[in-house]
């Protein structure tokens, strides 16, 4: 005898609760049924329990296994260089490998950085986008290499006065080759890498690739003619939208909603992928820093950059 049956017969009464839960049994019991008759009926109770309650419990438990979708946020509030780019790539891979991360928002406030690191992140973003949408939210600035990343996303939000654009390349030309008495090299450009002339032409070639990325990324949304695109200008967010460099004026939360919409999810959780991916902080100064702690807008190392260098020193 089950606990319920024992309870009913022992007390010889049916309370309101039992009446509600087991109406058929209660009615029959009230008519003076015997214990043997009740056994048959109890079978049906057990059958209901087996076929309804248990699956329901299992279903509820299974429902708990359906994850809440996550919109991952990758923040770039620095220049793009080896460390920052590696961090971004780690976050992109995390988003790619974790199914609960249904879309990514790229929150940008960056003047760009080195060419190769920008390209690395751009290409990883392209891989991610084959599976999950990526939306850009431009906060303070998305200039040069940072804008290269922007055009590698599905939708671009900007603030009305964000700084957007600066499409192009900056290169520090190597010196005219010369030789040292104390340094032996095995070729005329072993010390310098390339001629000044070829460096100049390489920069222009990279600019062409940048232009191609902009045209492919923005497609028909791009309204500015080519000569405007490659002028290297920085536009305010408002202008950027009217010229087709960005899609809409909006905030980071707008970008999250848009990412969710593109991913087909709702009631999502926004999460910083830096935390999820377990990235540890690092210390590295990409820009020149004076002994007094003044950060200059010039990179520590000469090279080729997709970088916006403002005219005045930046003080921190």
């Amino acid at each position: 005898m089950s606990n319920i049956q024992h309870f009913i017969f022992k007390n010889n009464r049916i309370d309101k609760l039992h009446h509600l839960v087991y109406p058929e049994i209660v009615v029959k019991l009230n008519k003076g049924v015997t214990m043997n008759q009740n056994d048959t009926k109890w079978k049906s109770v057990r059958m209901w329990l087996l076929w309804l309650a248990l699956p329901l419990v299992v279903g509820i438990l299974a429902a708990a296994l359906v994850p809440q979708p996550v919109i991952g946020i990758i923040r770039l509030e620095d220049a793009i260089y080896s460390y920052s780019a590696q961090d971004m790539i780690t976050q992109i891979k995390y988003a790619s490998e974790h199914p609960e991360v249904r879309a990514v928002v790229l929150a940008l406030d960056s003047p760009g950085g080195t060419v190769v690191d920008t390209e690395s992140v751009y290409m990883e973003l392209a891989k991610l986008r084959t599976k999950k949408p990526v939306v850009t939210a431009i906060n303070g600035m998305s200039a040069s290499g940072a804008y290269y990343l922007s055009v590698g996303t599905d939708y671009v939000y900007t603030k009305p006065t964000s700084m957007v654009g600066n499409i192009g390349v900056i290169s520090y030309l190597p010196p005219v080759p010369f030789i040292y008495e104390e340094i032996i090299s095995t070729g005329p450009y072993k010390l310098w890498g390339s001629t000044r002339d070829s460096d100049m032409r390489q920069a222009d070639m990279i600019k062409e690739a940048f232009l191609s990325a902009v045209q492919l990324g923005r497609g028909e949304r791009l309204k500015a003619p080519t000569e405007v695109v490659i002028s290297g200008k920085i536009w305010l967010g408002n202008e950027a939208v009217s010229l087709g460099f960005a899609d809409e004026i909006g905030t980071e939360s707008d970008a999250l909603d848009k990412a969710a919409e593109l991913a087909g999810v709702a009631n999502y959780e926004a999460a910083d992928l830096r935390d999820l991916a377990g990235i540890v902080d690092y210390y590295y100064s990409f820009f020149i820093k004076s002994p007094q702690g003044v950060v200059m807008p010039y990179p520590v190392e000469p090279g080729m950059y997709m970088l916006f260098i403002p005219q005045l020193p930046v003080e921190k």
Partner: protein, 487 residues
């Protein structure tokens, strides 16, 4: 019955996760193709190089081209080497001038004065010297470059200011109607490897643009000339950085109305490897021709650079005795002329051709007449003065005359004085290489050469010399001593 139960069980099992799924997920993600740039398809642009013709006909003209090195010029000699080599191929000689004091002297014999990217201003005196040089027919070339300038950093405000070479270049060029703009030309549509490397396909008609179809300049200021000619004109897509606009009146180079002043907004095209891009090599050759094509109108102001040939014939007329003093004086002239690579040959007959130095006195003579007649010189009524047309009357005693005549056959300088002693003094003046003690008027100079004749008698005569109205002048009163003003 059992079938119903199965449905119920399935529903109970599925509905919770389904409801949760629908709560979160409204669509199914799809795999997409993402287009990225076709990186391997991008290649480095190659410049359109040309090989100079081996059998290029070069006219040997000779001459001296003076490069300015006295105004903190922002270039290295290697950067103008290609132009200097072309000048040398034409028999030209390249000199530099760093000392402003030597500028006037060197411009007397130079065919062209080349100023490259100056960053220190020219003084008013230097500007006058250069303008006089151009007026005489010398040629002025000014190369500026938009990539050169002095960067000034203000440590108080953090402001950086770039002082371009165009400002100083304009002080040289503006008197000739040429202006260098403080900008750079660019073309984002069609360029030579970079937007600031601009092609020019449209040319002003000039000897400088002869044989040129296309040239490329590398970071050039725009140049305009109101009265002259814009030589290199860019396409409509060539814009100025000042206003991002195209001005057909502005270009990469311009020449003045008289054709003697040439300005370029760039000199990087003179350097390797850009000297061989498009028709730049031809342009450089044309510029070399231009530098040596300047022919100054030689006047006595060019002294001592009055002679064009390597030999000067010294002709003492019949009144001149070749005494030891005279020979010594002539040797002084010989030494002076050797410093400018001219030899001297004493001849006994009047030269019929070539450069000549004629020595004579004021006394009329047949063998001197052909040299003095063009200057309309006549003796005064009392024969103690000389009347020179357009100059006036001068005393014979103590004065020497320099007469310079330029002709196709050669240049002739005639030295005349009242006596042979005065003539020796005049020769010494000429031998010193300077006419600073002379009054110059075109091709005639009057030089004080002493007192003339016997020194003691001249001195005595001078004190008793009558005035023009025939009275004896009173002795000049000695001023009374006066008290020094107080305070």
């Amino acid at each position: 019955m059992k079938k119903n139960l199965i449905w119920i069980a399935l529903a109970a099992l599925i509905i919770p996760p389904l409801a949760r799924g629908l709560w979160f997920y409204r669509g199914i993600p799809t795999q997409r193709e993402i287009a990225t740039p076709d990186y391997p398809s991008f290649a480095i642009s190659q410049p359109p190089l040309t090989t100079p013709e081996a059998n290029e006909k070069i006219k040997i003209t000779g001459g001296t081209v003076l490069f300015d090195a006295g105004h903190a010029n922002l270039y290295q000699t290697s950067e103008v080497q290609a132009l200097q080599e072309e000048i040398s191929k034409r028999g030209g000689r390249v000199e530099t001038v760093a000392d402003p004091a030597l500028l006037e002297f060197k411009l007397k014999y130079a065919s062209a004065y080349v100023v490259v990217s100056p960053s220190m201003p020219f003084t008013d005196a230097e500007l006058r010297i250069v303008q006089d040089f151009v007026k005489r027919g010398g040629r002025l070339l000014v190369f500026t470059d938009a990539t050169r300038g002095v960067l000034y950093y203000d440590w108080f405000t953090g402001m950086e200011t770039n002082y371009a070479d165009s400002v100083i270049a304009n002080s040289l060029l503006s008197p000739f109607g040429i202006t260098v703009n403080n900008d750079y030309l660019y073309n984002v549509e069609e360029h030579e490897g970079n937007y600031r490397n601009v092609y020019f396909d449209d040319f002003g008609k000039s000897e400088l643009t002869f044989g040129i179809k296309r040239v490329a300049l590398y970071g050039a200021h725009s140049i305009k000339s109101a009265s002259g000619l814009t030589l290199l004109r860019g396409a409509e897509s060539t814009l100025s950085s000042v206003d991002d606009a195209h001005d057909p009146a502005e270009g990469g180079a311009a020449i003045s109305e008289d054709g003697n002043v040439l300005a370029f907004g760039d000199f990087t095209f003179l350097t390797s490897p850009y000297q061989n891009v498009a028709d730049n090599a031809t342009l450089i050759s044309n510029i070399a021709d231009f530098t040596l094509g300047g022919k100054q109108t030689v006047t006595l102001a060019n002294f001592p650079y009055l002679f064009a040939q390597s030999m000067v014939q010294v002709y003492p007329t019949s009144e001149i005795k070749l005494s030891a003093e005279t020979v010594a004086a002539i040797s002084g002239i010989q030494q002076a002329l050797r410093t400018v690579n001219i030899d001297v040959e004493v001849v006994s007959k009047a030269p019929r051709g070539g450069d000549a130095l004629v020595l004579g006195t004021f006394a009329p003579s047949d063998d001197l007449a052909e040299f003095t007649d063009p200057f309309n010189i006549a003796l005064g009524e009392n024969e103690e003065t000389l009347i020179i047309k357009n100059f006036g009357e001068i005393g014979r005693a103590g004065n020497g005359l320099l007469l310079f005549e330029q002709s196709k056959n050669g240049n002739t300088l005639t030295l005349l004085a009242d006596t042979q002693e005065d003539l020796l003094s005049l020769i010494a003046t000429v031998g010193s290489g300077s006419l600073s003690g002379c009054v110059l008027q075109d091709n005639l100079a009057v030089c004080g050469v002493g007192y003339g004749g016997d020194y003691s008698s001249t001195e005595a005569t001078a004190t008793e010399e009558p005035t023009s109205d025939g009275t004896t002048p009173e002795a000049e009163a000695t001023p009374e001593p006066a008290a020094t003003p107080a305070g």
